[in-house]
Symmetry: C2
Subunit: 254 residues, 2 copies
């Protein structure tokens, strides 16, 4: 539908244009977008104009383009992630208030951990994860929890792929990763010391949906030398149970 | 571009499809989408399929369609609202921890207040606002703050429109609204007792961006009989100043 001579569709071009924006670069010139997408300049102008007409993109005073609030509104308003996030946030606040460290919620998306929420105190330590940011499944405590509860196909795909570490301590050996997954399933949580950054320790637990399946991972990032790891695990498990109960209650209320 | 025989573009049809979803209804059948958009069934099927191919929509086990996590990711990742929200959330948490009531952040969008964040304790009172939800500018404390600091054109547009109240106490008389706007600018905050719901009291303050212009409204919703209104105003003004300072620091750090 609406395919160009080169065979790619308008929707695929829109996606390529949207992919040029991220938290580090929330605005770009049209020529910059054309260069990064590889689309002809006139095509880029035309698509940007039409997207802007509907508020999906916006232009600032200097003519630079950014993602429109209307796109965010449409994506957010109907998002199932929003409901999970809305239910989860009071429980995440409890964890965050007790530990004063980054508290995060991630879901499985395209074989990666997609972070849909992060609460951070102003004095929390270093953390590379971002809302709407992703991490490989084997390289973070949240990803490991999602991997440990994923179906066999996905586990096989990850275990047979070429695994690279984000730090020297990330597990990249398939046998070691298989053992880690078994341990996570046995103890009910994942501990990832120094996997992302040498000075940090990630702890994550699975969050079950109303139907009993794992729908997300809830995690905290502590300083590596923190003495709160055991307490954090208890808080996280309690919060995860609370989220499941609240989701079940909100579903039954409908 | 890619116009149909009826002259509407593919992008406009995509927007119409996305508009059929909201927090009350996060999934729909394709025939339901066709009925609500007024698009032919075959067209709806085709567009839904293509959007699904790129993860912008997703289908569940029963074939029902919902907004895809990929769309949320693309919209969120490049969103300027995300940066404001990320900077604001620790300050919002401070306000929320002190008052234990709904704490909200809204921006001006299409002559309405669009709520981009809400923190709620589990024991907070009633509140109709939702993230990615909107309220008319004259009918909420956040909207009134945004209206009071909007340009003359927008103020004129609102004051000369037919104003309806969401409760008997909402100001709908243009002269009374003009006086309210002047008061908000003089005292630096808006108080909206019973405007949305008889039992609630909204209080909002303006948030300035690094450049000095008003970029958002920060608000709390208290029970109508709360004695915390004065304290809430002080907390909100302090948080708003903190957000401005933090945005300036984060801009200078780039």
């Amino acid at each position: 539908m609406a395919n160009s001579e080169s065979g790619d569709s308008l929707i695929s071009r829109v996606v390529r244009i949207l992919e040029t924006f991220d938290t580090d670069r929330t605005s770009r010139s049209v020529s910059d977008i054309a260069r990064r997408t590889g689309l002809p300049s006139s095509t880029t102008h035309r698509i940007v104009s039409e997207l802007s007409e509907y508020g999906l993109l916006e232009r600032d005073d200097r003519g630079n383009v950014h993602v429109g609030m209307r796109l965010w509104e449409l994506a957010m308003r109907g998002s199932q992630a929003l409901r999970l996030r809305q239910v989860a946030i009071p429980f995440m606040e409890d964890v965050q208030a007790k530990l004063r460290q980054h508290t995060q919620l991630a879901v499985l998306e395209d074989d990666e951990a997609l972070f849909i929420e992060r609460l951070s105190a102003r004095d929390s330590g270093a953390n590379i994860t971002r809302i709407a940011g992703r991490l490989p499944l084997h390289a973070s405590s949240s990803g490991l929890v999602l991997l440990a509860h994923a179906d066999d196909d996905l586990q096989h795909r990850i275990l047979s792929s070429s695994l690279t570490g984000t730090s020297p301590e990330t597990i990249t050996d398939p046998d070691a990763l298989r053992a880690k997954i078994a341990e996570i399933r046995r103890v009910g949580h994942a501990v990832a010391p120094g996997y992302i950054a040498p000075e940090s320790l990630g702890i994550a637990v699975p969050v079950r949906g109303p139907g009993g399946g794992i729908i997300a991972a809830l995690s905290v990032v502590l300083p590596r030398d923190s003495r709160d790891a055991d307490a954090a695990t208890v808080y996280l498990k309690s919060a995860a149970q609370g989220i499941t109960r609240a989701m079940r209650a909100s579903q039954n209320a409908q």
